[in-house]
Amino acid sequence: MWPAARSLAIIALLAAPAAWAQPEAKILRVTFQAAETGFDPARVHDYYSSMIIEAIYDTLLTYDYLARPAKLVPNAAAMPEVSADGRTYIFRIRRGIYFADDPAFKGRKRELTAQDFAYSIRRFYDPKNRSPYAFLFTGKIVGLDELAARAKKSGRFEYDTPVAGLQTPDPYTLVIRLNQPDVNFGYVLAFPLTAGVAREVIEAYGDESPSHPVGSGPFLLKRYVRSSKIVLARNPSYRGKIWDFDPGDNARFKQIAERMQGKRLPAIDGVEISIMEETQSRWLAFQRAETDIEYQLWEVAPTYMTDDGRLKPEFVRRGIQLDRTVDPEVIYLFYNMQDKVGDAPNPVGGFSKERIALRRAIAMSYNIDDQIRIIRKGQAVRAQYPIPPGVGGYDPQYTSLIPYDPRAANALLDRYGYKKGSDGYRRQPNGEPLVIRYTSTPTERDRQFDELTKRSLDSIGIHMEIQKERFPEYLKAQKQCRVMMGHQAWIADYPDGDNFMQLLYGPNIHESNNACYDSPEFNRRYERSRQLHPGPERERLYHEMTRLMETETAWLLTDSRVRNSLQQPWVVGFTKHPVMHDEWLYIDLEPKPAY
């Protein structure tokens, strides 16, 4: 009896330290400031859902974590072999990549293959999915648009009908043939929503597929309470990666590399995401160390940052880290360039000298510094070029032709016959009243834009009316060229200037060209730029196009917002990538101090 008890005691003593030494699971806690909509790559369009999709699925290509501007690297496939005419892409899928286990696989390990990517691409063309990112592929792949057209008529998409543009000669080879060369096609295949999904999973879950994501990426969905909590766990089937990135000369990146180099990824065990719409809740939760990273706290930035963009000393003392990057976006004030808005004459549209002068004068009266200081609370940088920092084609040397100069703006209007009436407001050169209708949405932030724009136009004696539209109606009005003047933001889908320049391309009216700008000179240059790889020739065209847009004043570029990501002291390796939606694969968590 006694020896047995003694043996048990010894075993217990030996086992106990092992239990005590059990490390705490590394769970990263973050927040989203808006609710997700689901995790089916072909069916979602919001940024937050894409973050989860990026963590769960594998794309063919991805980005180097530290390279700036963003650089494509292999992921599920090696870098593609591209034909001399730029129309054929051959992807070699890596062997041994497996999906996370799921009942849809009926107990078998399921390898990721070229057919999964071909199926995923076809899903963007299926009208039933009404994919918001169908534009990434529409008109590009040989034969697929015809399939989509047939599906619209028959109501059923033919997933098994062979098409010349999308072939899988073996499970590890994907051949894509394009209608036209597209130098940006590689970026499309690094976009998280183009990830590979398994057909049997999509078919097993049907309409419920947005809440049953099954991927081959680093994490899997462990728990999901819609619009409230998303818990990801490390995917045991994930092949793993080694942290190995070149930090270049960037001092912060060097620090990151020193601490992360050689670590096996993912280094964390999971991610817990809470949906917190309210800034106060997010800010207090971060300060209470209930969360590890806060991606954006614009409204309270003056609370934790100095005017020169640094953390206040009390936060530095607590070890809080700040990662400050400019979002790959541009915000701009646009004018409707058409002669008519609906059936009514458009006083700001057209290409006559008077109309150009009017648009230029409005642009010169708009105080961008006030927008950055008051509306952005200092957390934005002036945008000079239609392509923002971090995106291929960005030119930091470029300076806009349009200065802030209300006096010169007034003189310009006087010169072109916009005389002031007895009410103090200007009239059109033909003597008719001049009323600019500015459209915005009924939000607190847009109310600030309303006031700033009204003040600007008042300063040059132009009568402005504000038209409020709910967001869907605002989008509709833009696409139908019914917005006379408004503000708009565009964030990069892929890190190339083409994604921004297409916003001004004439044939994109009713799609993404909300100024309804149709300049033959601009269009000709844009079409030429689409044939060119990034380089001096394309840069020159982009310069010319930008100058042309400024001369005709279709837009006034205002700013790009600065993203201030706050991290707790125990977060290691985080920096906001300009294009990737999340960085959870590349970071680590150190043990938290005991309070």
């Binding site: 909590k229 809740s281 696409k479």
Partner: protein
């Protein structure tokens, strides 16, 4: 009573028809076209048309209205346009969190409000009465947003008694950990108007002849107040409490947003932001039906509380 109940149920029909028409026309005229939201950043007119066709919003208004009526009759409002989740599933999963907060909130605020109102009504005109009334007026004039911000800052951040926000899996964890601060805020907000309202109910009863008679017969004050006055004042109080419930379910969105509670109120706001008509339709119809049912229940309860009440 059965005849009365059946008659009232029959009266639901025109009311519900009015609600259906109102919701339908409001959504179609001011709700915005959901296709433009769902189509994403770059969309062609063909894509928009395809989405409109799938959602059925390209049908003539009469057809759309008939579909809506059929949905109300069948109780099947289809799926959310933005997340594809079944509307019934949304209600099934969001109702629990909402009730976890709202039921304790209503019970506590009602009991506290009744006790305080009875006390101040009993000592009406005294310094205590006036002080409580002034405090209630002040409390009522402060926005719920201020209560949330201050309570969250003080009790969650400064004192660390509660998490700032969150929601777990286990019911008891949610009730005793995540809901407590939200309940405290809700009680603080509703206490002031409840006390003022209930005080008037108690004052009405205290001045009745039967109270004077009870006192003249030598009945103790405790018995007069707790048995006779409370019983008679309970009728309007019950009405008030029951009528609050349906509105609170959809209207507690501020509390749910700030405290991260995945309830119905938060879902309604999301649906409005996304022009998600199936959810808006369902919520409006459910709240209307719940309000009518609660009204009926309150009337039936009058009879149970006070047998003198005649239902006609």
């Amino acid at each position: 009573m059965l005849a009365y109940t059946l008659r009232r149920l029959w009266q639901f029909v025109p009311t519900l028809a009015g609600v259906i028409l109102l919701v339908f026309f409001l959504f179609n005229w001011v709700g915005g076209d959901p296709a433009y939201l769902l189509a994403g950043k770059i969309s062609s007119p063909e894509m928009i048309a395809n989405i409109r066709r799938q959602l059925g919003v390209d049908e003539p208004y009469a057809v759309q209205l008939w579909i809506f009526v059929k949905q109300v009759l069948s109780g099947d409002f289809g799926a959310s346009w933005s997340t594809n989740e079944r509307v019934a599933e949304i209600f099934a999963t969001r109702l629990g969190p909402s009730l976890t907060v709202l039921v304790p909130l209503l019970v506590i605020s009602t009991l506290l409000g009744m006790a305080a109102a009875m006390l101040v009504a009993y000592v009406r005109g005294s310094l205590t009465d006036r002080a409580v009334m002034v405090a209630c007026t002040m409390g009522q004039s402060i926005s719920i947003l201020v209560y949330i911000l201050v309570f969250q800052y003080v009790f969650a951040y400064q004192l660390g008694w509660f998490p700032v926000q969150g929601w777990g899996v286990a019911f008891m964890d949610n009730l005793l950990r995540y809901s407590v601060l939200a309940i405290i805020v809700g009680v603080a907000v509703s206490l002031a108007p409840d006390i003022r309202l209930y005080r008037t109910f108690f004052l009405d009863e205290i001045n009745q002849d039967y109270v004077r008679t009870a006192r003249a017969k030598g009945m103790s004050e405790t018995r007069v107040m707790w048995v006779h006055v409370l019983r008679n004042a309970a009728i309007p109080i019950v009405t008030n409490v029951l009528l609050q419930l349906p509105g609170l379910l959809a209207g507690a969105f501020l509390i749910e947003r700030f405290f991260g509670i995945p309830g119905i109120g938060r879902e309604v706001i999301l649906a409005v932001e996304r022009s998600d008509f199936p959810i808006i339709k369902a919520v409006t119809v459910y709240v209307a039906i719940a309000t009518m049912m609660v009204n009926l229940l309150a009337d039936l309860l009058y009879k149970a509380i006070d047998p003198r009440v005649q239902l006609k």
